[in-house]
């Protein structure tokens, strides 16, 4: 497979690129081509609008035939997304989109399959399917809209809500520790794990670009504001006064430096975690360099642990992007191998296999 060379499409996958089998179009596409005539029904001001616009204006870049793109979603505000995309779409049931999309992606290599899910959909009811899609590395691009709340059911806490969250179902504060979606995805053998923010279109699209080219499952967590039930959840990352100070923008191959004056950096401790240091206090060689392609996930995991509910410092960008054969390629290869070595199946021969006898 990819050991043989690095000059194919995408990441040098020698025909195994996630989009190599998806038909392209020469026709020029614009954002408009991806809009439907359905009225968008999110609350005014909801972060989902920004994500929709970012996706619709990004897709033309891929140059894929529209009919070969499919969006599959679960249930939640975010999962209404497919109705607004002029592609094929499947709004399914709560939590099960990765499973349904797995069946689609593994049987149709000519499709670009996207999953849209929420923090409740993906991490609560559908947690099992998410982790298994990640470990299998099915050719799916999963957009996890994380608003840290159940939007559609009107404001209960979610598995990403901070401890002590006061909601309708937790009037005295929620008791359970949240998931860190990046840590979870890395722990689940995810090969592409990234985070971005609804309000930063440029960053969001740069992550989508990389995700689209990734071989296998790409998990993109998108911090999304629910202005009705959890307004301002990510404000520190958006506030022009503090955001540069606390946002760690991960760039593959670059030293991890951040802060308004780029005065802070990350250094790996002997225990393997990261600590924040002042650039002026350390030798440049001590500053960690981000290596998203490192097969060993421990660095990416350590980065994911820098989060805190108080947003002291929050990494965004691509935590991990490693090359591994996708499940659908492998499944296809087994079918091809069976046909190749045994010949295309013959029904009469199959029925008559084993011990038979003839009666005249």
């Amino acid at each position: 497979m990819s050991e043989n060379g690095t000059n194919g499409d995408g990441h040098g996958l020698n025909g195994h690129g996630p989009l190599s089998l998806v038909p392209k179009t020469d026709a020029k596409q614009t954002l408009k081509d991806f809009k439907t005539d359905q009225e968008v029904r999110w609350c005014p001001g909801c972060g989902d609008y920004a994500i929709l616009a970012a996706v619709q204006s990004f897709l033309p870049e891929l140059g894929l035939r529209r009919e070969n793109i499919t969006f599959v979603s679960g249930i939640g505000c975010s999962s209404r997304f497919p109705y607004y995309m002029n592609t094929y779409g499947f709004h399914s049931i709560h939590g099960r989109a990765p499973a349904i999309a797995t069946g689609l992606a593994t049987s149709r290599p000519d499709l670009s399959v996207w999953v849209v899910t929420g923090d409740g959909d993906a991490l609560s009811i559908g947690g099992n399917h998410l982790i298994h899609a990640l470990r299998r590395n099915v050719n799916l691009k999963i957009l996890l809209f994380n608003n840290r709340i159940y939007g559609l059911t009107k404001g209960q806490y979610s598995p990403t809500s901070e401890i002590g969250k006061i909601t309708k179902s937790t009037p005295m504060g929620s008791l359970d520790a949240p998931f860190n979606p990046m840590s979870l995805a890395i722990g689940a053998e995810g090969t592409f794990v990234a985070r971005t923010i609804d309000s930063d279109r440029k960053h969001l699209q740069s992550v989508l670009r990389a995700a689209a080219q990734h071989r296998g499952t790409a998990l993109v967590e998108i911090y999304q504001n629910c202005n009705i039930f959890n307004d301002g959840a990510f404000d520190p990352l958006k506030d022009a006064d503090v955001r540069d100070d606390i946002t760690i923008r991960l760039e593959h191959g670059e030293p991890i430096v951040f802060g308004a004056e780029r005065e802070k950096a990350l250094r790996r401790t002997r225990a393997g975690s990261f600590e924040v240091v002042r650039v002026t206090d350390v030798d440049p060689s001590e500053i960690a360099v981000h290596d998203a392609a490192n097969p060993d996930p421990s660095q990416a995991f350590a980065l994911s642990r820098l989060d805190s509910p108080a947003f002291e410092h929050t990494p965004i960008g691509i935590f991990r992007d490693v090359d591994r054969p996708s499940y659908d390629e492998l499944m296809r290869e087994q079918v091809d191998e069976a046909v190749g070595t045994q010949g295309r199946g013959d029904l009469a021969a199959l029925l008559g296999s084993g011990d038979t006898w003839r009666i005249d």
């Binding site: 499919t70 499973a99 797995t102 069946g103």
Partner: protein, 613 residues
């Protein structure tokens, strides 16, 4: 010495031993020999739920019953004429089923004090007169095998293990079975261990020779081949037939089969079997759970494959929300439920028919699903094809109710001519169809178009939210919901006009009592009906393949008889449906012992109802 040869018309043999004694294999080989000889046959394996229950204990007993005859038979038989008991546990567990005068072959080597004590025998039943009513053949099978294999370079353990082949050889001699099949089988099975192979063959031949030379058996039996229609035959279990039916559905529709499954007894063998046939373009996906399994199957159907999922009752419970989604999105999906005894984990290796109401109604909302059931192991092939036909033609999930008895039981199967199998037409919507609407229905079938991703110009969105009639856009309109609920129901109801009417077997036309069954009870009911008729009495029989919708003539059939008996291995689920639908007070007969009905038992039931007329 020359032995007397006695003609029999039928025999029921049960091989019983410890799980580690190879009884399933022994039974299977005897079955193959019997099939090759041309007898009609029917088998019933019975094995413990535990993989390795402690050796020599009652829970560890595994058995295999085979009924074979010179005429066509319908069941694995009520009670064995011959029991082979490889240890005290096997004797104790099976003796209750043995009628007086039956032959009993026991392996005395295993009847040690310790083994007897393990199952609560204070004294050795072979040595006192507690087995006096049987024809006991007390044979040291293990030590005779070890002696016969003295010259082989194998361990004592391996020599002892071959005792099942000694027993098989003996029984093969006793019933005049051909041996080539078993010799060929052993050569293949142990191809990589030539010494073990030769030893097993030697054990088999020693068993045969023992029968021929010893005084212990004075009679040899002959059961003439049965009259069968000309054709090519093989023996087949329900699970394999079902898997083949799915392969055939793929070939006859041109659709790739996509199986999403999660292992569960007694359905796993269908997953195992289909995963071996990738050269037909079949994809098998072992999912993380049943929900993902059916989800992946439905996703594949959305993409234009024939999505299939296989499971047992507990798995259906998990799949129900997705089956509802398939109802709402009107996509083809084949759901196989190999029923086992419930509720909950129940008796995983035992059979039952108690998922009928779950299949009919186990979903939220009005969610009609066609339900069909095979009647015999080989019929699983045709039932699978029929499920696929309905699913594709009507764009609907279909539930097929097999059961543990059909799944593992076997019978001879006359291979169909592949060209005669039904053709299934996917009839995909095509690019740029000007009038395309995702929920515009075919006026005749009420099926919606199947427009798959990759088809230019037909991009659309589907989902579980209610859709506007025609356009398929989300609709919260009350009248539209009422329309859509009724349309989905009418579509399923309409299938009644597209299935074979219910056939009634009433040779004299004078019967006043009808026995109506469904699914895996066909053999037992038919055998019981034959017995009743043999006594000169008239009884009619009919068996349902289609449980939803019922065949169009069912009401008329039911009303043609004074009394309708409905035997089921549940507490009366079909009976409830019939009463509710037709206001006919059918007479239920219900047993839930995890075992198939016995012909004699049903004969009694039928006669009692007739006598009470």
């Amino acid at each position: 010495m020359t032995k007397q040869v006695q003609q029999l018309d039928r025999v029921i043999i049960r091989f019983a031993g410890d799980s580690g004694d190879g009884m399933q294999l022994t039974g299977d080989r005897f079955t193959q020999e019997t099939a090759a000889f041309g007898n009609d046959l029917s088998t019933l394996p019975n094995f413990p739920a535990e993989i390795r229950a402690p050796a020599g204990t009652l829970p560890g007993v595994s058995s295999f019953q085979l009924h074979f005859a010179d005429h066509d038979i319908l069941t694995p038989g009520d009670a064995p004429n011959v029991l082979v008991a490889m240890n005290p546990a096997a004797l104790k567990a099976n003796l209750g089923d043995l009628p007086r005068g039956a032959d009993l072959i026991v392996n005395t080597d295993e009847f040690s004090k310790r083994n007897l004590a393990k199952v609560g025998y204070a004294a050795n039943p072979v040595e006192d007169d507690s087995l006096a009513e049987y024809r006991v053949h007390a044979l040291p099978l293990t030590s005779m095998t070890v002696t016969a294999l003295a010259d082989f370079d194998i361990s004592k353990k391996d020599a002892e293990r071959a005792k099942n082949m000694f027993a098989l050889g003996l029984l093969s001699w006793l019933y005049h079975r051909p041996t080539e099949g078993t010799l060929g089988f052993l050569e293949k099975k142990f191809a990589r261990k030539p010494e073990i192979m030769k030893a097993n063959i030697a054990a088999f031949q020693a068993g045969w020779a023992y029968g021929e030379t010893t005084e212990a058996f004075s009679v040899q039996y002959e059961i003439k081949p049965a009259e069968h229609e000309p054709g090519l035959y093989r023996n087949i279990t329900g699970n394999v037939a079902l898997a083949y039916g799915l392969v055939a559905a793929g070939e006859r529709s041109g659709l790739p089969i996509y199986l999403g499954s999660y292992p569960i007894t007694p359905a796993s063998d269908i997953l195992h079997e289909l995963s071996r046939h990738k050269k037909f373009g079949i994809r098998t996906f072992q999912a993380e759970d049943e929900i993902a399994a059916v989800g992946a199957a439905l996703g594949a159907s959305f993409g234009g494959a024939l999505g299939v999922t296989t499971t047992s009752g507990p798995g259906i419970a998990l799949k129900s929300e997705t089956i509802g989604l398939a109802v709402a999105t009107e996509l083809p999906l084949v759901v196989i439920d190999v029923q086992r005894a419930g509720p909950s984990t129940g008796l995983p290796t035992k059979t039952e028919q108690a998922d009928l109401l779950q299949a009919m109604y186990g979903r939220n909302g009005e969610a009609p699903v066609p339900v069909i059931a095979p009647r015999s192991p080989s019929d699983c092939f045709d039932a699978a094809l029929e499920a696929a036909r309905i699913a594709v033609k009507y764009r609907t999930p279909v539930i097929l109710l097999s059961d543990g008895y059909l799944a593992n039981g076997s019978e001879p199967w006359k291979l169909p001519d592949v060209d005669d199998l039904p053709v299934i037409e996917p009839a995909f919507a095509t690019a740029d169809d000007p009038g395309f609407q995702p929920f515009k229905r075919d006026p005749e079938t009420l099926a919606r178009p199947w427009a798959i991703p990759g088809t230019a110009g037909l991009e659309h969105r589907i989902g579980g939210l209610e859709k506007a009639d025609g356009s398929g856009n989300i609709s919260y309109d009350p009248a539209n919901h009422d329309t859509m609920v009724r349309l989905r129901q009418a579509k399923v109801d309409g299938i009644a006009n597209d299935v074979e009417p219910l056939a009634v077997d009433d040779p004299s036309g004078e019967a006043r009592v009808l026995v109506l069954g469904w699914g895996g009870t066909f053999g037992a009911i038919s055998a019981a009906v034959r017995r009743v008729r043999k006594e000169g009495r008239q009884v009619a029989q009919a068996h349902l393949r289609h449980l939803n919708p019922f065949p169009a003539n069912l009401a008329e059939v039911l009303r043609s008889y004074d009394k309708v008996i409905v035997p089921e291995i549940n507490l009366g689920q079909l009976a409830l449906l019939l009463r509710g639908r037709f206001l006919i007070d059918v007479i239920g007969y219900n047993q839930v012992r995890g075992l198939p009905f016995k012909a004699e038992e049903l004969q009694g039931v039928i006669q009692d109802v007739m006598d009470s007329e």
